[in-house]
């Protein structure tokens, strides 16, 4: 455990640039280093992940991708556990059928006895019910010693340890798949570029997003001719970097200021942007200025397309997102402190400064302004995004908090 704690601490200090992939890798090492007891392995893993996840989310709640990955991993653990148990029950049914014929063959078989399966079923995660809450005693003591032979009980313990190893192994494999998905989401989204970009198009984008640039490069590879207007995206000015990349690939690019977006959008065919996070109602948390572009696009009936990998889909519904899911950055990006130092005085009688500078980092775009989401799982309407949550997350994990263990 001390190793994981050190890993978590270094991760937290670098959380400003944390990506989903790093979170997944961290959780993978937490899982692999976690010792699991013989029974209720999934519960132990989930507790360990929740403990770490709680710290990660609390460190930077605005970085929603971290919370998403924690919840994805928890969902993976539950699913793997469930599939292992159903597989075991399936085997048991088979062995019950063959019981009459091969009574002696059971020694050395890896099938589990009925009692052991019942114990295993109790130990897997079930939705909290009165029965499970009252049954908090460790399950290993409750496993009835059946009138089985010695060979059977040996088989049991051997089976349980192999089952626990199998669970961890399966979970780590699934987390590896998740990491692979995160890394390759750009390619999968870019494959859909040709369906949406035709010839002689004019595309508008704001700021810089790697998904968007890969998307446009893919369309260029397939010989579609189009021009791009890039809005610079003050105060980070990422649009300049995107324009550089696009020009290096041979695309006709024009860089405009954010104030010129309304003026130019009447000549644009499509707006393609990336997102910081996609909320469960289909709303988008995006770099500041995106709401302006979305409103202008709606006024001119220009499709507003958002590209987002599925790891950006957050199961939370946004409440007052401009304030709660936003980050206010330093005023020095807008005003030079040296020039305005005389105005920062705590001047008036009430003692509060006359000048406030507001520099939000994110913007919320409501779902009615978004025409289409393109994810690595295909294109979707904003009203469909809530269904994707059921694929990736479990309802138990929406609030990542360790439940207090009774009788501690």
């Amino acid at each position: 455990m001390p190793d994981t704690q050190a890993l978590v601490m270094t991760f937290l200090t670098s959380l400003k640039n944390a990506t989903a992939r790093q979170t997944a890798e961290l959780l993978r090492s937490v899982i692999s280093q976690q010792r699991v007891p013989y029974t209720n392995q999934a519960g132990a893993l989930i507790d360990a992940v929740k403990a770490v996840g709680e710290q990660l989310i609390a460190a930077n709640p605005v970085e929603l991708a971290v919370g998403n990955i924690v919840r994805r991993v928890l969902h993976i653990i539950r699913e793997e556990d469930l599939s292992l148990t159903t597989a075991a029950i399936g085997e048991l049914n088979l062995s019950a059928v063959s019981d009459d014929e091969n009574d002696d063959d059971r020694d050395g078989n890896t099938t589990l006895s009925a009692a052991a399966v019942a114990a295993a079923a109790r130990s897997t995660l079930r939705p909290p019910s009165l029965q499970t809450l009252l049954e908090d005693t460790p399950v290993s003591a409750a496993v009835p010693q059946t009138s089985s032979s010695g060979g059977d009980s040996e088989g049991k313990t051997a089976d349980k340890s192999s089952r626990s190893r199998k669970l961890k192994h399966d979970v780590i494999e699934a987390v590896n798949e998740l990491i692979q998905d995160i890394v390759t989401c750009h390619e999968q989204i870019a494959e859909q570029a040709v369906e949406h970009i035709h010839q002689n198009e004019v595309i508008l984008t704001l700021g810089s997003s790697r998904t968007v640039s890969e998307f446009l490069f893919a369309a260029k590879e397939k010989k579609r001719s189009f021009r791009v207007f890039v809005a610079e995206g003050a105060p980070r000015y990422q649009g300049h970097l995107l324009a550089k990349e696009l020009v290096a690939r041979g695309l006709q690019t024009t860089l405009i200021t954010d104030s010129a977006v309304f003026a130019m959008i009447s000549r644009v065919n499509m707006v393609i942007v990336g997102a910081h996070a996609v909320m469960a109602n289909g709303g988008v948390i995006a770099p500041v200025g995106m709401n302006l572009v979305a409103l202008a696009a709606q006024k001119h009936a220009v499709p507003f397309v958002v590209l987002a990998g599925s790891h950006k889909l957050c199961p939370l519904y946004p409440h007052n997102p401009e304030v709660l899911l936003n980050e206010l950055r330093s005023p020095s990006e807008l005003l030079d402190f040296g020039e305005f130092s005389d105005c920062m005085d705590f001047g008036s009688g009430s003692g509060s400064p006359l000048l406030h500078v507001v520099n939000p980092a994110f913007d919320y775009v409501p779902p009615k302004l978004v025409s289409l989401f393109i994810t690595d799982a295909g294109g979707h309407n904003p009203s469909y995004m809530y269904r994707l949550i059921a694929d990736y997350y479990s309802a138990d994990d929406l609030v990542v908090q360790r439940r207090a263990i009774a009788g501690n």
Binding site: K244, A260, L292, L335, L355, V358
Partner: protein, 380 residues
């Protein structure tokens, strides 16, 4: 002038007073507008000072001020130009064999084309020039030269006084009635009329806050911010991308205009349309403050058919950001263009009310004012 017509461009180049190299990387969509390289123009013009015999020094001074950007804003540019014309008229003497009317009109036209070279005319300046020429044309032939000159200078004084200075006072008085205690007023960029309104309302003792929204590349809002803070107003400063964030606190939006066109479209600093659109989405009333002499009978649907293009280097270079500025040597790259629009057109449905010296009118009444009060350019 149509800039995509090569013949006309060549003709105007021959008449030009100073050299203006065209920009290498021109945006296709704006080929009908002039796009120049801005680096060498000022030094070129300054070096020509002693060669320009036919240019009156006052007009030359105003031209240099426009080119350098020292004088900005519709009212300021118009007043500077008219004062220069006053000096021209005062120093004018009719050459033998010519009539005052024709000769003076020709001289004024040549000065106007010089000013256009320095910086394209704003609509307010265009209206003022038309007024000036009509007054010259209407001079009774019986007047002697001194009397004619005195009458013309008098007309210019009256124009400036009535159409600009007094009009601003009337606008300020009307608009101050729209400011209540506890209001949060948002303004974009720097408009002299809006500044006057805010300061006057503050003097009246109304309690309100101001939000100043600013944008690249000119950061005009910073000058306004400094002046408001000096007078003790409580201000919030932000950039145009954050308008959606701040708009839920705002109760009124006051914007200035370079001109209001006959279909109700407001032609003003680029970014005004974005602010008005967001205000409309949040159901915040938008009030445009504009003197009536800036109204124009032209109509315009979008910001592309007629606009002014500024220096593309202002876009390429971000002051204080060396990581982004490595783009600087790229202005000559074939595929990359920078677009620096100066104006944009705000549709009339985003504007709740226009405050002019003729009163507070809806955007649909602008052609009425243009028609009724412009007949014979009456000085009413």
């Amino acid at each position: 002038m149509q800039f995509d017509d090569q013949g006309r461009v060549n003709k105007s180049k021959k008449r030009a007073v100073f050299n203006q190299p065209e920009a290498k990387n021109r945006v296709e969509l704006f080929r009908h507008l002039p796009q120049y390289e801005h680096g060498s123009q000022l030094t070129d013009l300054e070096s020509k000072f002693l060669e320009l015999d036919s240019m009156h020094p006052a007009v030359y001074k105003v031209g240099v001020q426009y080119l350098a950007g020292d004088v900005t804003g519709g009212n300021a540019r118009c007043i500077a130009m008219l004062r220069a014309f006053q000096e021209v008229i005062n120093d004018y003497s009719t050459p033998p064999g010519k009539t005052l009317v024709r000769d003076l009109t020709a001289k004024i036209s040549s000065y106007v084309s010089f000013l256009i070279e320095c910086r394209p005319l704003s609509m307010s300046m265009g209206n003022a020039i038309r007024f000036q020429k009509s007054r010259i044309a209407k001079l009774p032939l019986t007047l002697s030269e001194t009397e004619a000159k005195a009458a013309l200078c008098n007309d210019i004084d009256r124009f400036i006084n009535e159409k600009i200075i007094l009009a601003d006072k009337v606008i300020v008085r009307h608009a101050a009635t729209k400011v209540r205690d506890g209001d949060v007023l948002l303004t974009y960029g720097s408009s002299c009329v809006v500044e006057m309104i805010l300061l006057y309302a503050h003097e009246l003792g109304k309690q309100f806050r101001v939000v100043v929204v600013d944008s690249r590349p000119k950061h005009e809002g910073q000058a306004l911010l400094r002046r408001l803070l000096a007078k003790g107003l409580s201000c919030t400063y932000t950039h145009i991308n954050a308008v959606s964030y701040i708009m839920h606190e705002v109760t009124r939006v006051f914007l200035g205009a370079s001109s209001v066109l006959s279909n109700g479209t407001t032609y003003s600093r680029v970014g005004t349309a974005c602010v008005a659109m967001v205000a409309h989405a949040f159901r915040v009333p938008v009030l445009i403050c504009c003197e009536a002499y800036k109204f124009h009978e032209r109509v315009q649907l979008d910001s592309i058919c007629s606009n002014e293009l500024g220096d593309s280097n202002d876009i390429a270079r971000v002051p204080g950001r060396p990581d982004v500025n490595s783009m600087d040597n790229r202005t000559n790259e074939k595929n990359l263009q920078f677009l620096n629009l100066m104006y944009d057109a705000t549709p009339s449905e985003y504007v709740s009310m226009i405050i002019t010296d003729y009163g507070m009118i809806p955007p649909t009444s602008v052609p009425v004012i243009v028609r009724e009060y412009r007949r014979e350019y009456l000085l009413i």
